[in-house]
């Protein structure tokens, strides 16, 4: 009886697992919203495929679901945990398996067996000796040299961040935007061709600047443009420049989005 039940289950597993014709969720959503000629076959497949319909229902649930009162406290706790673990998320090493539904084993318990115990104790002893040795040498902490001799602020590479436009756009941008940089009195911006030929440059004391009509006309579908912003001090010294961003209007055939 259990064997039969398992075989029964195997039939349904085979019937319900995704086939080569099943599109990935991104395409599934696009096809469900549009009727382009090139996706007619995919659309026909989706309409007759239980697995694709389920996938689509799940995507919609994922994107639009609201939190029920019964789960609000848990969702709020998990959200707070994620905010607390943000640094850990960024520094997580590659593809560690997820221990779902199991309490995680504390790291120190992994050394609590067999040869690991010996190795761990030896390593701990060596670390203590090394630590004591370094402390006895009396090495002084080097002074931080955060500012230049003249006292002028120098921005680190991530302190001036150009925000928008960037990437594929739906319509020509009306303005350029960036984040305020410490110590900046005004900003120089320039828009360039992809070979860095300068098309336009201007200055602003704000963190945005409108693009003139002449430049907006130069933003045509399929053409990539670059732009960069440089922060200047009140005495017109360069404090730092943003990374160069690129943007473009997609040509009609690649402009569809879900």
């Amino acid at each position: 009886m259990p064997d039969r039940a398992l075989e029964d289950r195997e039939l349904w597993r085979q019937a319900l697992e995704p086939t080569a014709a099943c599109p990935v969720p991104e395409e599934l959503v696009r096809v469900s919203r549009e009727v382009p000629h090139d996706s007619a076959a995919t659309r026909a497949h989706v309409e007759g495929c239980v697995q694709c319909q389920t996938e689509l229902a799940l995507v919609k649930e994922f994107q639009s679901a609201t939190t029920d009162p019964g789960e609000a406290a848990a969702v709020s706790w998990i959200t707070a945990e994620l905010e607390r673990r943000f640094e850990r998320i960024l520094t997580a090493s590659s593809a560690a398996p997820v221990a779902v539904l199991h309490k995680p084993v504390p790291w120190y318990r992994r050394f609590d067996r067999g040869r690991f115990r010996v190795a761990a104790l030896t390593a701990a002893g060596l670390l203590i000796l090394l630590g004591v040795g370094l402390n006895l040498r009396g090495v002084q902490e080097p002074e931080l040299n955060s500012k230049s001799a003249g006292g002028a602020v120098v921005l680190r590479s991530e302190e001036l961040i150009a925000l928008a436009p960037i990437g594929n756009l739906k319509q020509p941008p009306a303005e350029l935007r960036w984040q305020a940089a410490p110590g900046a009195a005004h900003y120089l911006v320039k828009v360039m061709e992809v070979d860095r030929t300068e098309l336009w440059k201007s200055e602003s004391t704000e963190t945005s600047i409108s693009l003139p009509a002449a430049i907006r006309k130069a933003i045509v579908p399929g053409k990539t443009l670059l732009w960069q912003v440089t922060a200047m001090s009140a005495d017109r010294r360069t404090l730092g420049s943003s990374k160069t961003l690129s943007f473009r209007l997609p040509v009609r055939s690649d402009s569809s989005k879900d």
Partner: protein, 202 residues
């Protein structure tokens, strides 16, 4: 930065490959924490496991941001990552195997019917099973059946993920789906036998 769309934030991070601006990633993730938290909680049923799973999903998203092509909304792509992580978790831990009540569902608490299903298993192909499912089941039954038998998701997880409000949740949909399929297969089998009989008479 709050005025930028998700897709613009990703593009910004991609421009700075190797050292994407932390503020930009933080803003992007913050917008989706609740969505992923809710999904993971519904999948696992307890907040500690859900937090671990959600952490892994965001770590995967961070590692894979470079592969986002902007051909879909970021939230659709995020769904793909979340879905894959859940499927991997099911595979790794076989969480659906020992769920109480599954044995009842598999045999439908009726030995004769179980025998019938065994016979059906021998007769029909996966392709035919797909067609029968599509023809006989309503939308919720299809979703429950697919997630339980196709993805090995537990019935409790399916109940939460699909927001089913009835008392027995996904279990009721599996039972009703199998009743419908059983009737359909019986009818189909009778037609086949009739056709074979007519062939012999000729």
């Amino acid at each position: 930065m709050g005025r930028l769309s998700d897709e613009e934030l990703v593009a910004l991070a991609q421009e700075a490959a190797g050292s994407p601006p932390v503020a930009c990633i933080n803003e992007l993730f913050r917008r989706h924490y609740a969505r992923v938290a809710r999904w993971c909680f519904r999948f696992t049923g307890d907040r500690e496991s859900a937090a671990d799973l959600a952490q892994e999903i965001f770590a995967k998203v961070y590692r894979s941001l470079g592969s986002f092509r902007g051909q879909s909304k970021f939230s659709t792509w995020l769904y793909s990552v979340a879905r894959n992580e859940c499927v991997n978790a099911v595979k790794a831990l076989s969480i659906s195997q020992a769920e109480p009540g599954d044995d009842v569902l598999l045999g439908l608490a009726n030995p004769d019917e179980s025998d019938f299903w065994f016979a059906a298993e021998r007769m029909i192909s996966a392709q035919l099973a797909r067609e029968l499912l599509n023809e006989a089941l309503d939308e919720t039954e299809k979703a429950v059946f697919t997630l339980h038998f196709g993805r090995n998701f537990s019935l409790a997880a399916i109940t939460r993920l699909l927001g089913l409000r009835n008392a027995s949740g996904a279990k009721a949909y599996v039972v009703s789906a199998r009743r419908k399929l059983s009737k359909l297969i019986q009818r189909w089998q009778a037609q086949e036998q009739r056709a074979v009989g007519e062939g012999r008479e000729r």
